[in-house]
Structures are given as structure tokens and as C-alpha cells.
């Protein structure tokens, strides 16, 4: 019976668990319990049912031809394999996930570049002991007092003091 069993890949649940973010842990646990239940069910079932001892039945059953008929029909019986409808959906999901993952990684890299830039700026600053107020305002532009908007001392809204 070729094509009967799609290969069941061994999953490293420990490595999988490491990569799950804490917010999705319940979903992961649910998946794991389901998987374990399925594999337990599978393991409990024998791969092939035991063979029927036709010789014994032929000798035991008195009705003529009944056992032969059963045997003929039994060996002719083809049990249909269950049809796989979901794998294509899973594959489609996987493609989508790959795409969104690529986008996320892209955005993440952009964020990292931004952080790196700021980090660089902070690390290459001159030490505060050697700065003048001008240098300080250059390094941290938000500290510069807006003398156009607030022409009178203290050059910022009183509430900000």
C-alpha cells in the first residue's frame, strides 16, 4: 500500500518549547497535549489486525461454502484510506507565515539599525565633565530652550519647571 503513510517527522518538542514566546504558551501546551493524545492513540492500535485462521474455521463451521465465501470477500475487501484534506491548507498557512515572518524580520532589523545608531551616538559622546552647555544641547536636542516660542525667561512653560 504505497503512499499510505505520510512520513511522521520526529519533532524536538524541547527545542520547540524554547522558541515559544510566553504569551503563546497556553496554545503551545494545547497543541502538545493534542499531539501526545494522538500519538498515544496511534501507538495503542496494532499496525495490522491479526490474521484470521481460515483453516480452523473451515474445519469448524459446518455450513458448506460459508467460510469460503467469507474468505473470498474478506481478501477482496479494500479498505479506503482516509483522505487528507488539510495538508494543503497547512502548506498554504506555512507560506503565509513565511511571508509575514520575513516582513517581521525586516521591520525588526530596521528597528535594530535605529537602536544601533542611537547607541553609537550615546557611546561616542564626550564626557559630561568636558561639555559646555552648547555641546550639551547639541548632544540632546530636546534640552535646547526654545527662545522664539518663549522669549521670556525661563523659556519654557512654567508647568515644565
Amino acid at each position: 500500500m504505497a503512499g499510505r503513510r505520510a512520513a511522521i517527522k520526529a519533532i524536538d518538542w524541547a527545542a520547540f518549547a524554547e522558541r515559544v514566546p510566553p504569551s503563546q504558551r497556553p496554545m503551545f501546551n494545547a497543541l502538545k497535549t493534542r499531539s501526545d493524545a494522538l500519538s498515544a492513540r496511534l501507538a495503542a492500535l496494532p499496525e495490522k489486525p491479526p490474521a484470521i485462521d481460515w483453516a480452523y474455521y473451515k474445519s469448524a463451521v459446518a455450513k458448506a461454502g460459508m467460510v469460503d465465501e467469507f474468505q473470498k470477500k474478506f481478501s477482496a475487501l479494500k479498505i479506503p484510506e482516509p483522505v487528507d484534506t488539510q495538508t494543503s491548507k497547512i502548506n498554504a498557512q506555512e507560506q503565509e507565515a513565511a511571508k509575514s515572518a520575513a516582513e517581521y524580520v525586516q521591520a525588526s532589523k530596521a528597528r535594530i539599525a535605529q537602536y544601533e545608531q542611537e547607541l553609537q551616538k550615546l557611546k561616542s559622546m564626550i564626557p559630561f565633565e568636558q561639555m559646555t552647555l552648547e555641546d550639551f544641547h547639541e548632544a540632546f536636542p530636546e534640552t535646547r530652550l526654545d527662545k522664539e516660542k518663549y522669549p521670556y525667561w525661563p523659556h519654557k512653560p512654567i508647568a515644565d519647571l
Binding site: 512520513a7 499531539s35 484510506e81 495538508t87 559630561f128
Partner: protein, 252 residues
């Protein structure tokens, strides 16, 4: 230097000061306009101002006079100048002189006594400002580094998405396989049940026939025992008993 209220507004090229030293510095040979415009950060401003003697007279004056008049030269000059002013009455001694002397004495005493403490206090204020700024800077650096770490971790997590889909496909495969096996097993069980039923039926029938026959045979045998046979069998039994009792009496 941090809160210096008069930042030099001259272009960068003119700000070629020597590097900062924490002690007093002799600025006699300060170089100006010696190099081209660097684009590097400026060297920091000096920590302390030029050295002075007696709080008033810059050290450069003493150094200037030293080659010609030695150590005592400036003092002699000063003394001579004061005496000249007094004797020629360019400076007139009056009540304000006394007042000035008293005031100066008090001021000098105050500064000498409390000066260092006030200086330390002011320095502490400045230190606190610097420390706060430094702390803010360090926190931002740490925050940024943590954010970068977090992003990298998230990227690593995303890489593991294949596990999820493998798990799902595995689940599907297991489910299908389990269903298939269940179907096989059901078929087998059903067929076996039917065959076993036939066999059991036969056995039961055979058993019932046997029992019935035995019963019937027993009944007919019991019926066929005629009264004559009964009497004969009882007489035989009695004879046997007598014989047995004789042998039993003999042995006992």
C-alpha cells in the same frame, strides 16, 4: 565647564586650547591660530583658571620679573609702589581706609575659614548634576542594548516557526493513520464475530443435542428396567453383601 555661561562663540579654528589639566596652568605660551581647522571634537576647556599669588596677582608677573630681579623682585616692586602712593599722597589715608581695612580683614577671614566648605558644596551640586546626566545616559544605553537583545531573540523565535507546521502535519498524519488502522481493526473484528457466532451456534446445537440424547437414553434405560430385573438385581446385591460381610467379619 559644564555650566559655563560664556561659551566661546568663536569659530572652531580659534579654539585651539591646550588640553585640560586639573592644576593651575600658566597660560604664558598659549598657542593661537597655529593649526588648520580640525573637524575633531574640541579639546576640553581647562578645569581651573590661571594661577595667582595672594589671590590677586597672576603668577605670570612673578615669572616675568624672575630673570632680572629674582624671587624678591615683585615684592620689592609692590612695596615701593605702595610707599610711593602713600608718601606722595596719591592714595590719601582717611576714615575709609580704616573701614576698608576692617572689611577686608573680615572678608579674608571669612573666605579662609569657610571657603573650602562652600567650594565643596558647590562642587557637590555640580557632581550631582553630572551624576544624574550620566545615570540617564547609562540607562538609555542599557535600555537600547536590551531592546536590541530582545529584537534578536524575537528573530530567533520566528525562525522556529517550522516546528509548528511540522507538528500540525504530524498530527494530521497520525490521525489519518489511526483512522485507517481503526477501520482495519473494525473489519477484522466484525468478520471474526460472525465466524465465531457460527461456530458457537454449532457448538451450542451439538451440546444441546448431546444433552438431550443422554437424557433420552437414561430415561429409556430406566424405563426398560422390568420388575423382574429389579428383583434379580436386588437378590444379587444381597448375596454380594453377605459375602462381603463374611470376609469383613473374618478380617475384623
Amino acid at each position: 565647564p559644564l555650566l559655563c555661561p560664556f561659551p566661546p562663540s568663536a569659530p572652531a579654528a580659534l579654539r585651539s586650547l591646550p588640553p585640560a589639566v586639573t592644576g593651575g596652568v600658566l597660560h604664558a605660551t598659549r598657542p593661537l591660530h597655529t593649526s588648520k581647522q580640525h573637524l575633531a571634537p574640541l579639546p576640553p576647556l581647562p578645569e581651573k583658571g590661571g594661577e595667582v599669588r595672594h589671590g590677586l596677582i597672576p603668577e605670570e608677573f612673578f615669572q616675568f620679573l624672575y630673570p632680572k630681579t629674582g624671587v624678591t623682585g615683585p615684592y620689592m616692586f609692590g612695596t615701593g609702589l605702595i610707599l610711593y602712593f602713600l608718601s606722595k599722597e596719591i592714595y590719601v589715608v582717611n576714615h575709609e581706609t580704616v573701614a576698608a581695612a576692617c572689611i577686608l580683614a573680615v572678608i579674608i577671614y571669612g573666605v579662609k575659614k569657610f571657603g573650602p566648605d562652600v567650594a565643596a558644596f558647590a562642587d557637590k551640586l555640580n557632581e550631582e548634576k553630572l551624576a544624574k546626566a550620566e545615570a540617564v545616559k547609562n540607562e538609555s544605553i542599557q535600555g537600547l542594548e536590551a531592546a536590541i537583545e530582545q529584537e534578536k531573540k524575537e528573530q530567533w523565535r520566528v525562525e522556529g516557526r517550522s516546528y509548528l507546521f511540522d507538528a500540525k502535519r504530524n498530527n494530521i498524519a497520525m490521525l489519518l493513520e489511526a483512522n485507517y488502522r481503526e477501520r482495519l481493526l473494525t473489519v477484522y473484528n466484525e468478520v471474526k464475530k460472525r465466524l465465531d457466532y457460527q461456530v458457537a451456534m454449532q457448538n451450542l446445537k451439538r451440546q444441546k443435542e448431546q444433552d438431550h440424547m443422554i437424557q433420552w437414553v437414561e430415561k429409556s434405560v430406566v424405563q426398560s428396567i422390568t420388575p423382574q430385573q429389579q428383583k434379580d438385581s436386588i437378590a444379587k446385591c444381597i448375596l454380594d453383601l453377605k459375602a462381603l460381610s463374611k470376609t469383613a467379619q473374618a478380617t475384623a
